[in-house]
């Protein structure tokens, strides 16, 4: 019984290593990969490896499912673009949809959920109105959550399309307004790169920093292995394409106030996925690096999250990051009163 997610990480780094797995080890690996939303990526990495027939069928199914997710994600982006045809500002795709729209290696086998887009903060009302006109509706009707979202979060309250039943998240920056680092949203929009279809994606350094912000600030490192796998791909591809990339990454991290997060992410990517990283940007190992790695690997062969105390510590800490203490207390109190989990 696999005790942590190390075999998944090993399989992603060294595809040939899976040829030694027994039947029950394959079952464990599949459960871990599904739990970490990495089975599509794993299936693509293992395409040329010999494996038992049923395992091949399972991985083929994962590829098929992720192909569909990709198709639906691109269509959703297309629908949003048409709904915003009269909006003159940039519509910047984010996360998985950006990777597949820009044909990046990080998009291969990627599981994609909602459509995430970023627009200028002053245009939120205009964008909101256009989406509502085109058939999207609010998901959360509660006025407290609604107010919280608008005042403090980096996105509009969630919208869902009434017929297609797909969600769109409209962001105006990459981290909540109440969190520590305050990224420069204007700079991200200015540097955004235009795709052939007229939608935008972030410039390379911003794209990496967004993924890093997401890794540490959104939740208790939940989905961290997948997030770090994205970062691994982005770093490899951008570094290979442009020798100025590391310098750009350095300067953008300073613009957005994410220098420490960048350093830690580089060290973690190197430790977990062997990503080649710039040594001076990565800095020296911190004692907490190994705690982060333990947290990232905390998944057993049944797909269960393990190491509960580490997880709890991360959860409280991540909520702390997002909201100042007084606000945190009020937010948790209201949520608790209404029966939601904190």
């Amino acid at each position: 019984m696999m005790r942590d997610a190390r075999p998944l990480v090993d399989a992603l780094r060294e595809p040939a290593s899976v040829e030694a797995l027994s039947g029950s080890q394959w079952t464990d690996l599949i459960s871990i990969a599904r739990a970490e939303s990495l089975i599509g990526s794993l299936a693509h990495r293992l395409e040329r490896v010999t494996m038992p027939g049923r395992v091949r069928a399972v991985l083929q199914d994962a590829i098929g499912a992720h192909d569909l997710a990709r198709q639906q994600a691109l269509w959703e982006a297309d629908c949003a673009q048409r709904a915003l045809a009269d909006y003159p500002g940039k519509i910047v795709l984010m996360k998985g949809t950006a990777y597949v729209a820009a044909n990046m290696s990080a998009g291969v086998g990627r599981s994609i959920g909602d459509l995430d887009i970023m627009v200028a903060r002053e245009d939120l009302t205009v964008v909101e109105t256009a989406l509502l006109d085109a058939g999207w509706e609010w998901v959360k009707p509660d006025p407290y959550d609604d107010q919280y979202y608008r005042d403090h979060m980096h996105e509009l309250p969630p919208l869902i399309h009434r017929e297609r039943d797909r969600m769109i998240d409209v962001h105006h920056t990459i981290l909540p307004l109440t969190a520590g680092p305050t990224p420069n949203a204007g700079a991200i929009l200015n540097s955004a790169v235009r795709l052939d279809n007229g939608l935008y994606v972030m410039a390379p350094a911003d794209m990496v920093l967004h993924s890093i912000a997401h890794l540490f600030a959104d939740g208790d490192l939940a989905g961290g292995l997948r997030n770090l796998w994205d970062i691994n791909h982005l770093l490899r591809d951008f570094a290979a394409a442009d020798e100025e990339f590391w310098a750009q990454l350095d300067s953008r991290a300073k613009v957005h106030g994410l220098v420490d997060e960048l350093a830690r992410a580089l060290r973690l990517a190197a430790a977990v996925y062997d990503t080649p990283v710039d040594a001076s940007l990565a800095g020296r190992s911190a004692l907490t690096d190994s705690l982060y790695v333990r947290r990232l690997l905390a998944r057993d062969g049944y797909g269960r999250e393990t190491r509960k105390f580490t997880r709890f510590a991360f959860y409280v800490r991540s909520h702390w990051l997002r909201m100042p203490p007084l606000m945190l207390a009020r937010h948790l109190w209201t949520k608790w009163r209404k029966g939601g989990k904190p």
């Binding site: 198709q71 639906q72 269509w75 297309d78 629908c79 048409r82 085109a134 058939g135 297609r164």
Partner: protein
């Protein structure tokens, strides 16, 4: 009105005839649409070139019996608006 409309490329569409309705599988979206007359015909007459609503209406009345007093062009415009929401038809600019 001189606004022209263009239908989705033929290769994006798979049709299937059921007794009272037409099914349309739209490949880019993966969505299956169920369409009643005259919508399949509208898409079909647009297959080769962008057309105005009036041109589409003219072709439809040539193919079908249309009741007198019915403004075919109005009906076509209404259907085209629905098809635009679904992403099956787009307006041609210029």
């Amino acid at each position: 009105m001189t606004q022209k409309y263009r239908a989705a490329p033929k290769d994006d569409l798979i049709w299937h005839d059921l007794d009272s309705m037409m099914l349309l599988y739209h490949r880019p979206s993966g969505i299956t649409h169920m369409l009643a007359d005259p919508v399949p015909a509208i898409i079909e007459v647009m297959a080769n070139a962008p057309l105005t609503a009036a041109e589409i209406a003219a072709r439809l009345t040539a193919l079908f019996d249309v009741e007198t007093g019915v403004d075919a062009e109005d009906i076509v415009i209404a259907r085209l608006d629905e098809l635009r929401t679904l992403g099956l038809v787009s307006r041609v600019s210029g």
